[in-house]
Symmetry: C2
Subunit: 394 residues, 2 copies
């Protein structure tokens, strides 16, 4: 049975923003005001719901509800888009007996189109009728676009004050190289925690999960990780140890969600775990890992189960990271492939073939230049990715 | 009829490095010592022929011959690879009556495998027998890997001192985001020019051609642009005006070669001309253009002929370039698509449909933040690219 944090209700509606007969609008309502925090895209173009969320959280770090829709991104839509976003908050708030500023919005879909307000108006009463009758997984499904499965992860913690529960959901699949967070992730807990500490927990978790994965190197205009902590468990996070436990739980939950995003990448068949160590700094390690993880040649080789390690080395070489070429060691699936500037004297194709067939492929680089380390989760690049994205709007 | 610079002979051989029965080894020999210059990859891992070329040119800025092979990159091959490279220079030099240090090498193919020296030894006499009987296009064909047509461009200049001829050839197709030059480009002229001035000409041309294109954002370990100027026309480049004319001719020749590389990108169906102006600096304009031109989402939309301009704006937004989002203007095929933070109030899909069907698609961004400008040629991303690169070694 799913662990569900206390004091939250869920609702969904089929508004038909893009396709008929599927839920594309979801709402999570806390019974009481909850500490609220968000981590948002660093894209210079920020969607109307991102701008709205940031303004609401800056004014007051508490909220009652999270709302997500798929099928319409409300990005690059100017003043009209901001006005529409505010109108949708009022529509949802009226149904749940809240004030509009109690609702934090998130949207995903095609960039540039204005919201279809007529569909919102028809959907709102549906949302109201559904409140308290939908499951968390219904909301996770409503935020899906090209995802092939909903992404929902839970944790339960035994703290000195009692049990608290954490539930997270997200959607992924494409335009995924989050910078601060992934496209639409919600985390809710019934722990009681001050907003500033909660913000710290979310940002710690985002940096170690959503910000350490790449599907296609594209950062969305709508990336948002938003979290509510409503205290309904009766357990308040007061001491440093409980805070650390909650932070670890939220981080591991976000890492599991992040893994599922890469696992369900558009057209994806692989999850590459690209770990770089021995870099001059963590930033240099990240630079190297991202060059490898976003290389179309590395990604197509992964798709082809081809242990074409030269492409990994070539991507590292152009990454901008600083190191001595002759000092670099590369291991794939634990097998030493490259050191001292040349391949290991083995039948590498034969040795690597089994690792390349796995869904999870371990690519480990040691630059022997310092102590910086970074691990990136990356998808492969398949024909299906191209099909999906060449035809996305049709 | 092809313009051929005076005083050069051409040779090819079918060594069978990767596939039988096709020429995969080419040689260009100047009758006399020629001013020689090269522009090479900035990848930290540099192939044996790149390291060898750089060492030869550092020792002496003159050479008699350019040699290229496809099917074997001789990259990431350590000391053994360097020794093999030197041995191939001697094999070719013996056939042409030259010293090994007169020959500048370039290689392309799979990274990591050692050269098949037995095949080189069998091929060398073929190369010798062919010398003077092959055409420039034969050499251009011998350097092809996944290219679907050879890339050869010529220019003829009337200078005060008389006529000089310039001939350039290159290969492209994949692992293309040159940083200083593209994978294997040769330029030869019969103008007489000092090595330092010739180096300036080549580097000027490379920055405005091969360094302003991207296929997949991957920079090869073998990228080399090498040029010879042998003076066989009897015309010496002495005055500033003639130098400028030669520089312009070589630059326009390299731009035409660069265009053909993008036109013949692996699986490519489009050539996007991504021009960014109004950036705070040329470097910022380049950052913006490269973010758009390497975005898998922009590239798949191009492949799908989908005027999905929101992806262009999203890529610009994450590029790291500095600008005000509301000041940005985007035009596609001359049609104003986006300004003041929102789409132009038109039926954009209908207006843009004709432009998207063309092979050449003009994407013009004005950031209104300064005077920096940069234009990048970029290919699209097709299912065929994935097929080619998932199966490259098989």
């Amino acid at each position: 049975m799913t662990i569900i944090p206390k004091g939250y209700r869920f609702a969904v509606a089929a508004a038909g923003f893009k396709r008929p007969d599927r839920n594309d609008l979801g709402l999570i309502v806390s019974d009481v005001q909850a500490a609220a925090a968000g981590v948002f895209t660093k894209n210079r173009f920020q969607a109307a719901p991102v701008l709205t969320c940031r303004a609401l959280l800056a004014a007051r770090p508490y909220a009652r509800a999270l709302m997500a829709n798929s099928g319409q991104a409300n990005a690059c839509t100017g003043e009209e888009g901001l006005g529409n976003c505010r109108a949708t908050l009022k529509l949802a708030a009226d149904q749940a007996g809240l004030a509009p500023e109690d609702v934090l919005p998130a949207s995903t879909g095609v960039i540039g189109a204005q919201l279809k307000m007529d569909k919102w108006e028809v959907a709102a009463p549906q949302l109201g009728a559904s409140l308290g009758h939908a499951a968390p997984s219904d909301v996770a499904k409503a935020m899906m676009t090209t995802d092939t499965f909903p992404k929902l992860v839970t944790r339960s913690l035994d703290l000195p004050g009692g049990e608290v529960r954490v539930l997270g959901m997200c959607k992924g699949a494409g335009m995924i190289s989050p910078n601060m967070a992934t496209l639409l992730a919600f985390v809710i807990t019934d722990a009681g925690i001050e907003p500033e500490a909660w913000r710290g927990v979310l940002s710690h978790a985002a940096n170690r999960s959503f910000n350490a994965l790449t599907v296609d190197g594209d950062t969305s205009t709508n990336d948002s990780l938003i979290g509510l902590a409503n205290g309904a468990s009766g357990v308040t996070i007061g001491d440093a140890k409980s805070l650390r436990q909650l932070r670890n739980a939220v981080t591991s939950l976000c890492q599991e969600l992040a893994y599922r995003i890469v696992q369900d990448a558009e057209g994806g068949t692989k999850v590459a775990h690209i770990s770089v160590k021995g870099a001059k700094s963590p930033a240099q390690a990240e630079l190297a890992a991202r060059a490898v993880g976003t290389s179309p040649l590395v990604k197509t080789a992964l798709f082809g189960c081809d242990p074409n390690w030269g492409r990994i080395i070539a991507a590292l070489g152009r990454s901008g990271a600083d190191f001595e070429p002759d000092a670099v060691e590369l291991r794939i699936g634990g097998v030493l492939v490259f050191e001292k500037g040349q391949p290991a004297p083995e039948d590498l194709d034969a040795l690597l073939a089994p690792s390349m067939r796995h869904q999870d492929v371990e690519i480990a680089l040691d630059l022997h230049a310092g102590h910086g380390a970074f691990t990136l989760l990356a998808s492969d690049l398949s024909k299906r990715y191209v099909e999906i994205n060449a035809d996305y709007r049709t």
